[in-house]
């Protein structure tokens, strides 16, 4: 029953999204903004896996997002790879970053994990910031969007469908992961890691793999984001950006499969609307943090699902949402 309801809801959402190129002019939203919602949702998903499901305060995922963007940008600009190559190299850069940081992050839990994530993530920010000759430093770097196989140009509509395909693919993969025995064990780690270890499981190994999946997801989101705006800039890597991803995750609903899209949608569209109306976007954004934490700690989808089921989604044996 629940699975069917989710399937129907999912198909409806994807169908509405697929009509984006026709719908977005009607609501006066630029199609590229909707693309941004989709690729940002991938980064939010990456935070969700670590924080929402595994309980690790992932406050450094912007590093992987930014590595994805810079990986795509640098390979397109200097190696002249095609579109697909740029996506792959961007994603792989983030995975590599994850491989480098994981041994450090793995050692600690709780707020200390958060602290280490923030601090180590910042390394990449300073590298991008300092290597002005290559990265353009503080100003960031422009690059032309590469052609697919060196032949086919990608316009905004095509890009939108690329982003949609990436999102749907990642969503299905994400859902498979969190509902698998592996994903159930991650949720158990969030609730009581010591107990999981006393079931004879090396929790470090689970967290290591979760970190790599997370880095890859964020990297793919970042690579597509870079290719969307044809630009890479250091603030993509900054801890502020990591905090925004966490905010989006909470907004949508921690530990829910679709929450990432909801959070990303509210944040990206909200930012687009508010920042054209006022120059004090940051004031509203800060207020959103405060309000969300005080009034909506389980997020929009999390609260909704809790109403429907009276059980937290991530803790469920057959998760929905």
């Amino acid at each position: 029953m629940k699975a069917r309801a989710e399937l129907i809801a999912g198909i409806v959402v994807v169908a509405i999204l697929a009509a984006g190129p026709y719908l977005s002019p009607l609501i006066h939203v630029d199609l590229s903004i909707v693309s941004e919602v989709l690729v940002t949702a991938l980064a939010v998903m990456s935070v969700n896996l670590l924080l929402g499901y595994t309980g690790l305060p992932a406050f450094g995922n912007a590093a992987y997002f930014g590595l994805g963007a810079y990986g795509a940008a640098l390979s397109a600009k200097y190696l002249h790879v095609d579109f697909i190559g740029a996506v792959i190299i961007g994603t792989a850069s983030a995975l590599l970053g994850g491989l480098i940081l994981a041994p450090f992050l793995l050692r600690r839990r709780g707020i200390y994990f958060g602290l280490l994530s923030i601090a180590f993530g910042q390394v990449f920010y300073f590298v991008a910031y300092r290597f002005t000759d290559v990265t353009g430093g503080e100003d960031g770097m422009n690059f032309p969007r590469p052609l697919v196989l060196g032949h086919y140009a990608i316009n905004e509509t095509t890009f939108f469908y690329v982003a949609l395909a990436a999102f749907v693919g990642c969503l299905i993969a994400f859902r498979t992961v969190v509902r698998s025995p592996f994903g159930r064990t991650l949720v158990a780690i969030r609730q009581n890691e010591a107990r999981v270890r006393y079931l004879g499981l090396n929790t470090d190994r689970f967290i290591f793999v979760a970190l790599l999946i997370s880095a890859t997801l964020a990297g793919l989101g970042g690579a597509l984001f870079g290719l969307l705006i044809n630009f890479a800039y250091p603030l993509e890597l900054d801890w502020h950006q990591s905090g925004f991803f966490v905010l989006m995750m909470i907004l949508g609903g921690a530990g829910t499969v679709w929450g990432s899209l909801v959070g990303s949608f509210i944040y990206v569209i909200g930012k687009d609307i508010i920042s054209t109306q006022t120059s004090y976007w940051q004031l509203y954004l800060g207020g959103l943090f405060v309000a969300c934490v005080l009034a909506f700690p389980r997020g929009i989808l999390g609260t909704l699902l809790a109403r429907l089921n009276a059980r937290p989604a991530a803790a469920d044996s057959e998760p929905h949402g």
Binding site: T185, A194, R195, Y198, L199, T203
Partner: protein
Amino acid sequence: MDSAMMLEARGVSKFFGGVKAVDEVSIGVREGSIHAVIGPNGAGKTTFFNTLSGFYFPDSGRVTYRGSEITRLANWKRIVLGMGRTFQTPSVFAELTVRENVMLGVRARAGVAFRLRPPAGEERETLEHRVDELLGFVNLGRSKERLVAELSHGGQRLCEIAMSLSTEPSLVLLDEPMAGLAETETDRIITVIRDLRQRLGLTVLFVEHNMRVVLSLAERITVLDRGKVLAEGTPSEIAANEIVRDAYLGKEALDHV
């Protein structure tokens, strides 16, 4: 080293800051026995237990399991070797159902916890069957689909014992299994602990406060006081021991027996 020894500790010490919580404690747990560690509050029982189960490592001394050294072995590896443990406050996944709690351990044991594809078909049935078996053993079958948070304290403890058994241990360490339980629940747990040895042939080491429980269950008792071993022996020896009576049992405890 005695081949019949399941678990041995030699001169184990553990410091916290400047305080020596466990001071040169030695103990030998025989295969197939029920062994109790008792002592007044703050005697270092739980700390000692934690060094045996690898919750943290001792600052000095050696711990061996079936003759091989495990002093600084990661806690999860001890489980793989065949140890299991419970905690003083039942350590369970409160947001999951009883079945899901035990299933986590069953999956871990079957080596499928790391998989991305949920077990299906025959494999799934084997796992479910194993869960039913374990829940039957602790008599929780009827509560299978309930959330653990909804169970009584005693029910949660039974669930935790079932979870510890799911990894198929040869030795189980129970940290104050009666803590916070009502009298009727205590009897249920006593039966289960007896069954652990009689029906499953396990070795049991438990920390306990309740003297009635200790004297009726244990074959061997180690008394700790202020981090040191005060005495060791059979229940009748311990009950007759003057030093033990003075230090710990003296007042009300033995009157209950």
